[in-house]
Amino acid sequence: MVNNENERSRLAKILVVEDDQDNREMVVKALNFHGYQVIEAVDGEEAIEKARAENPDLILLDIYLPKMDGYEAARRLKGDRDLRHIPVIALTAHAMKGNREEALAAGCDGYIPKPIDVRELPKQIEYFLKPNP
């Protein structure tokens, strides 16, 4: 349990993109508990909209998504001048080896293999959060 994070992290805004409601709410719950501010999106298109509107500090992006999958969403996020600075962490399926490579190739800054360990998640996120200026 990482409870001794500094103020910066507590205020960090995380965009969680996940189509499975239960899983999404679980992640949101865990992140809220650790003091993060969380916004949600259920597909790739909404992810880009929310990223533009809310300017999050980090995006957790599931790969299997309806409408626009995670790879495409990552490509668009990283291809957008206003959004490319936001770290994008792919949530990849453990079973499919290619997922990792494809996610990184699409421009993701890192990946967290599924299933998500809600206890580990805050620590993993911290590695990618940018320091405040």
């Binding site: 239960d22 865990a30 809600v118």
Partner: protein, 732 residues
């Protein structure tokens, strides 16, 4: 019938003769017999020949003798008592034998030679006798002398005749032998003479054509069994010495010159009228030539190729069928491939679908256990822990089933690379530390000092080690677990580098019965000794291990004594190049990489020097590659000691440092650097493969710029971290 001169005189005396065959011999006989001084009384009643221009026939006609083109007409001649046959044709002879009136005597072409001789002698004798009469005074005496002389002459002639006859007999014998050779041959054969008359037609030919010899021999009806109407067949073609164009008229392009017999032609055709439902025949006709090379007949042989043809056709049919089957199979195969792809996709989707709800179950249980939703009672905590444990178990089962199906379908992808086995085991062991501690077991590791790098997929090796260690912990209630890695001497001759790394995990657990050991690596086995408690699982773990090890070209085996513990060992191959890369000696532990020339080097980072320290060559290479591409100057060190040397040698702008290294660890390196006046300002980014304790994090606090976790960072991620660190420090 071979006869002497006296006998001949008897036969010819008062003979009324008909001659069959009007050639030169016939002409000569006529000339002698019709000569005005010929002493014998011989009447020539008629001559027959199929050729109207035959010399004897023409002469007879001129002399007012009856002539005919059909010898049967001769039978009508009045007083006929002798037929002389001069055709030299056995067929004709046989015909005459069969058809002549009973009281008519027959002299065949052989015996006719005697007639010819006799007539000549008779004529000569009379002529000399007549001639002498005019000159000699004592005619009686001389006549006596002459008679004596002529008797001697007759004797000589008789001897000569006898000799000739024996020669003739030999010819007859040869002819008979030839007939028997043809007759005795099992190959259907017939022979025609230069006049296209059939002279031989053997039994095999009768059997094949259904046409009897007596029906065709002596006639020119050889076409009869083969063709619906009269036309030249191959033997006739040979006798007529046809031009190729003319042959084509009859045989199209199906004929060819025989490769075996000079001057012979052959062809293969279907004959619908032969046999039941027709037959395929392959026939060869060869010329029969006399001493001067002139064609005087032809011999034709026939092969019934129907069966061969049918076999060939059946073969062709089978071949066609096979081709069709192959095409069908190929199509089925393609469909199978499509199904396989579908299955693969299904598997991927299924795996996602199964994990997603499990993920929820595990996650929410964690959240509840972490009191995210407020206080829970002790009983509730127990229940939640059970839910969590079982969900975890289910996740393992799903993963195992998916792994097995991937291994079996050959879809398990391996990412083979040089692997530091010692490092990998260290990581795995420390992850299982809490479990071991909980059971009060002792865990030992032992490694060869110079352990070569294995060539394998690190994730899969980790999976195997974890599985074997899990089992060892599970089945050992007290004592120790030992993990040992060494260079295997398997298949290695003296002074050769090792070919395998061998890893053995031994425990002091309850061991495995001999009869169970063989089945240990089978899928879904059930041991005679059932596992106790909840440690059963689906029994897939070991068969997955076996599959994974074998896919990496290694081997796995077990040694165990029931009640005393088990030892599981597996090998991983060593790649020759992999050893050389990090050669035994001289070992190059750090190097300075030249600034890249050209465009790439003119990045904003050019000139900034980064020292990368890690005992995992893979990580060093990965980070170096990424940073080099951006124009950073890279130095590498593979352990803490060398890192410190390198810093002394050339001070870097930034150090990327692994914490877990043998001998001098990352922590030691930081301590050293921070203690040195020159070196304490060098910024450090720490990279670690395992989670740090709170104490460890605390000890690093304020001394390093960043702590990064291995395995979750992409290349861009690392680059970004390096950049932001340097930006912050205003190094660039």
């Amino acid at each position: 019938m071979i006869v002497g001169a006296d006998k001949m005189r008897d036969i010819l005396h008062n003979a009324k003769v008909a001659i069959v065959g009007g050639g030169k011999v016939c002409e000569a006989i006529l000339k002698i017999v019709l000569g005005k001084d010929f002493p014998q009384k011989i009447d020539i009643l008629g001559v027959a020949d199929t050729n109207e221009q035959a010399k004897g026939l023409v002469y007879a006609r001129k002399k007012g003798i009856f002539t005919t083109l059909d010898y049967n007409d001769l039978y009508q001649l009045e007083g006929l008592n002798l037929i002389i046959e001069l055709t030299g044709d056995n067929g004709v002879l046989n015909q005459i034998k069969a058809t002549k009136p009973v009281d008519v005597c027959l002299i065949d072409h052989f015996e006719a030679m005697s007639v010819w001789d006799f007539l000549q002698i008779e004529e000569e004798r009379e002529r000399i006798k007549e001639g002498l009469r005019g000159y000699i005074r004592e005619p009686e005496e001389i006549e006596k002398q002459f008679d004596l002389f002529s008797q001697q002459l007759a004797k000589i002639v008789e001897e000569r005749t006898r000799h000739l006859q024996s020669v003739e007999r030999e010819i007859v014998e040869r002819e008979r032998a030839l007939s028997q050779i043809i007759e005795g041959n099992t190959i259907p054969t017939f022979v025609i003479n230069k006049d296209h008359i059939v002279t031989h037609w053997n039994r095999a030919c009768e059997k094949l054509t259904g046409c009897k010899a007596e029906e065709v021999v002596g006639t020119d009806k050889q076409w009869c069994p083969f063709r619906p109407e009269k036309r030249p067949i191959m033997a006739d073609v040979i006798v007529d010495e046809m031009e190729e164009k003319e042959i084509e008229k009859y045989y199209g392009h199906s004929w060819r010159k025989s490769a075996l017999i000079e001057g012979a032609y052959e062809a293969e055709e279907f004959f619908p009228h032969i046999g039941e439902g027709g037959k395929w025949l392959f026939f060869t006709a060869a010329p029969i030539r006399d001493a001067s090379g002139e064609t005087v007949g032809s011999i034709e042989t026939l092969w019934d190729t129907t069966e061969r043809r049918e076999a060939k056709e059946a073969l062709q049919r089978a071949h066609d069928e096979l081709e069709q089957k192959t095409a069908e199979l190929e199509q089925a195969n393609m469909q199978l491939k499509r199904f396989d792809e579908l299955k693969s996709t299904f598997l991927a989707n299924m795996s996602h679908e199964l994990r997603t709800p499990l993920n929820s179950i595990l996650g929410y249980t964690d959240l509840l256990l972490d009191r995210v939703d407020g206080h829970i009672s002790e009983e509730q905590e127990k229940s939640l822990t059970k839910i969590h444990k079982n969900a975890k178990h289910l996740l393992t089962l799903i993963n195992d089933v998916l792994d097995i199906s991937r291994i079996e379908s050959g879809r398990m992808e391996l990412d083979l690379k040089p692997v530091n086995v010692k490092h990998l085991i260290g990581e795995t062991v420390s992850a299982l530390d809490p479990l071991i501690g909980k059971k009060g077991l002792v865990l030992e590791t032992a490694f060869d000092e110079r352990l070569p790098l294995a060539y394998a997929d690190p994730d899969r090796v980790r999976q195997v080690v974890t599985n074997l260690l899990d089992n060892a912990i599970k089945f050992t209630s007290e004592g120790r677990i030992t993990v040992r890695a060494r260079a295997s001497d398997l298949g290695v001759k003296k002074d050769e580098p090792p070919k395998f790394v061998e890893v053995c995990i031994s425990d002091t657990g309850r061991g495995i019965r001999k009869r169970d050991q063989d089945r240990l690596f089978d899928k879904f086995k059930s041991l005679d000794t059932p596992p106790t408690g909840q440690d059963g699982g689906a029994g897939l773990g070991l068969s997955i291990c076996k599959g994974l090890v074998e896919m990496q070209k290694g081997d796995i085996w077990v040694k165990s004594k029931y009640g005393e513990g088990s030892r599981f060992c597996f090998t991983l191959p060593v790649k020759a190049e992999a050893i050389e890369q990090r050669g035994e000696s001289p070992r190059q532990d750090y190097e300075t990489v030249e600034v890249l020339e050209g465009e790439r080097a003119v990045g904003k980072a050019s000139g900034i020097q980064v020292l990368v320290v890690d005992d995992e060559p893979d990580h060093v290479e990965l980070i170096s590659k990424i940073l080099k591409g951006e124009g950073y100057r890279i130095e590498k060190a593979y352990d803490g000691e060398k890192a410190l040397e390198s810093v002394k040698h050339s001070k870097p702008d930034l150090i990327i440092l692994d914490l877990m290294m043998p001998n001098v660890s990352g922590f030691d390196v930081i301590d050293h650097l921070k203690a040195g006046e020159d070196t304490k300002e060098i910024p450090i980014i720490v990279v670690t493969g395992k989670d740090l304790t709170r104490e460890q994090i605390g000890s690093l606090n304020g001394r390093v710029e960043k702590i990064l976790k291995k395995g979750i960072l992409g290349g861009e991620g690392i680059l970004e971290q390096v950049r932001s660190t340097l930006d912050k420090l205003d190094v660039s």
